[in-house]
């Protein structure tokens, strides 16, 4: 082979080696770079009529120097160099907003597409703790008590107006970021967890999705844990416990003999007579032994005294050492032997 022939062969080889990348590059303007651009939404689980920020990202294409064109439901809504973000307003439940993005930079281009399907999930909770009958407030969890969770999802398929039945969805429950395997699964829209004795707040969340993953919803809650709250009421022989009239320091009782019941709101037992609940009463510094069948109630008779009663209560739990509460009430009872009486429903506040 002559020197001339060798040079020609070398040139041809160099040309081929140079052209191959160029050819590959030309072929990559279609699907190859199309899958190298991703879209992300914030919030991740958009709710109806909420503002959603869509962001495009690519590891192969410099989007900051690329012309990026945004399509919403087939219509161009934005086209600009470096327009990597776009904001939309999610529709109603059951709506679908189709996003299509094209990026063109130099000899390279990429596409990405996605669908925004708004969903809603309500996460309801209550503590499995004691509240008195007819109390209109929520039972709050205390240390070591259970917390009842209930998810109400509203996942509506595109073009429909009817939510998918809750029992047909898949639920993933988390407590403190950890998946609760035993509580999660298909149709598991309720869950019960234990409130940690070491934390004042429980972080719980639930992700709900259809079996095909097309629709996803999410809800979370920060559930405060509390100590039992001791509130004292008069236990009237005719009217029962006066739940509407809590006794406070300085309250006066018109009778010389009266019964008082303490209500430990949020105690971690279903009934106040549970033997696990311990009531240590003191009146004017003297420990009091009361009826074991009614441990949360005491009866005082002030005849022959000055009528002042300092009632103190230390409330604990026999096995849960994190349950502890104290309170005291300075009351004045009548000393006139019960023949002076006024309506107990005249508020003391």
């Amino acid at each position: 082979m002559t020197h001339r022939s060798a040079a020609v062969v070398l040139l041809l080889a160099l040309a081929v080696l140079t052209l191959i990348p160029a050819l590959l590059s030309a072929q990559s303007t279609g699907t190859t770079f199309g899958t190298s651009m991703t879209l992300s939404a914030s919030p991740e689980y958009p709710t109806p009529n909420s503002s959603v920020q869509i962001k495009a990202a690519s590891v192969f294409l410099n989007l900051n120097t690329s012309v990026i064109t945004w399509y919403v439901n087939g219509r161009v809504v934005q086209s600009d160099i470096g327009a990597t973000q776009f904001q939309i307003t999610a529709g109603e439940l059951g709506s679908e907003t189709r996003i299509y993005v094209e990026a063109q930079g130099g000899n390279a281009s990429a596409i990405a597409q996605g669908v925004v399907r708004p969903t809603e999930v309500d996460l309801l909770w209550e503590g499995d703790s004691y509240v008195p009958p007819f109390y209109r407030g929520r039972a709050l969890p205390t240390s070591g008590s259970s917390i009842r969770l209930f998810a109400i999802p509203r996942l509506v398929p595109g073009g429909s107006s009817t939510p998918i039945p809750a029992e047909d969805l898949i639920y993933t429950w988390r407590q403190g970021g950890q998946i609760l395997q035993g509580a999660s699964g298909r149709g598991r829209y309720t869950a019960t967890i234990e409130a940690s004795p070491f934390s004042q707040t429980e972080s719980v969340s639930v992700e709900v999705k259809t079996t095909d993953g097309e629709l996803r919803g999410f809800a979370s809650a920060r559930i405060p844990s509390t100590d039992p709250k001791l509130v004292l009421y008069e236990d009237h022989p005719a009217f029962g416990i006066l739940f509407h009239q809590a006794l406070i320091n300085g309250s006066t009782i018109s009778e010389s003999e009266a019964s008082f019941s303490v209500i430990p709101y949020f105690a971690p037992e279903p009934t106040l007579k549970s033997s696990l609940l311990q009531y240590a009463w003191r009146v004017n510094g003297t420990p009091l032994t009361n009826d074991p069948t009614r441990p949360n109630t005491i009866t005082l008779n002030a005849e022959g005294t000055d009528g002042n009663a300092l009632i103190e209560l230390a409330f604990t739990h026999a096995t849960n050492y994190f349950i502890s509460a104290r309170n005291s009430w300075n009351l004045t009872l009548s000393t006139l032997g019960g023949n002076v009486f006024t309506d107990p429903f005249r508020g003391n506040q």
Partner: protein, 407 residues
Amino acid sequence: MKILRYILVASTVFIIAALVWWYVFLRAEQGALQTIDAGRGANAPAPTFESFIGSTYENIVSNLSGEGNGTEENGVPRLRRITQSPVAGYGFVSNPLGTGAATSSARVRFVERATGYIFETSTDTNELTRITNTLFPKVYEAHVGKNGVVIIRGIDDNGNLATSVGIATTTPGSSSPKALSLTALSQNIEALVLKPSGDTILYIRENPDGTPTLMQALWNNANAKTLAETGISGWQLQFLEDGRIFLVQNIANGIVNNAYEVKGGRLLQSVGGVRGLMFLPQENSESVLYSSEDGTLSARMTNDVAPVTLPIKTTADKCVWAKAPSTTVYCAVPRNALTGSSEARLRGEIYTSDFWWSVEANSGNAKLLFSSDAPVDVENARLTSGDPHILFMNAIDKTLWALRIAE
């Protein structure tokens, strides 16, 4: 003879002394009896049993004079306290129950807390009539339906909720109060509400596995059926005359809660994400009123319009809607800004002192309706039909009050 005289004198002295002792003894016993009777809460003199109605009637009627404010109409003040004794609940009955022609005034029945006796009055008179004479002590909650159905709720010796139902068909024209026969319902009933007509009840029942369920049944719990799973048991139930059912989560300080309409076995959110939500839908209308724990009051007239913030600060449970299509709301507004926690109010630790406002919910125009010095913390307010009055209970002493809307 002399001895006879001495014996006679001694006997006379002895008899006189014995009579004096007997008099003193009776006085002491009467004092004790007065205490027991006054312990029924009426601050009234001991019963004389002279009236054929009975002592409780006397206790209430004897205290009615001078218990009112505002201009009088037919001798009835514009704002009046109907009862001195605390009541467990009240309701409106058909006017009158199956007899005679209807009148424009509303007939109201209430259940006395200490005795369970049922009384009836009307908005245009100070008269009270006792309907029943069966004693049921310590009634904590009562519901009365237009057909005379009454539901009584208390707490048994074990601390469990006890619910009983009955029907009082006695009319005020009857000669005397009649016995009321009650049937006990099961013990696992949590919240309960009676439809205003009195024919249907709604309640949360705790199942053996601890899960709560919303149930609907006839007033005597016949034909009970499950309406929906509720997941939690802490709900306030609302059962409207138009048949719609709403559940509102029990509130907690600083915690958001939601209100739902029950439809087709599902809970459909009506209002959500409001701290300390109180909720009040209007009968036969899409309009709803709701409030947050700081007293911000909002009205949403239809499902597809944005809510309007009203210029008064109160909670929706202190309000009543006028009859649709009116957009007027009557609200009891605390004189002082709502301070302290919502939970503290529910536990009876704090009260408000309210006066009444009238608000146009669609425009936000508000005007003072009535103001008095009477300390009332309004709860459980309802509007009569026809001759418009607002009936409500005073949370301070659980007495029943009536306010005539027209001056």
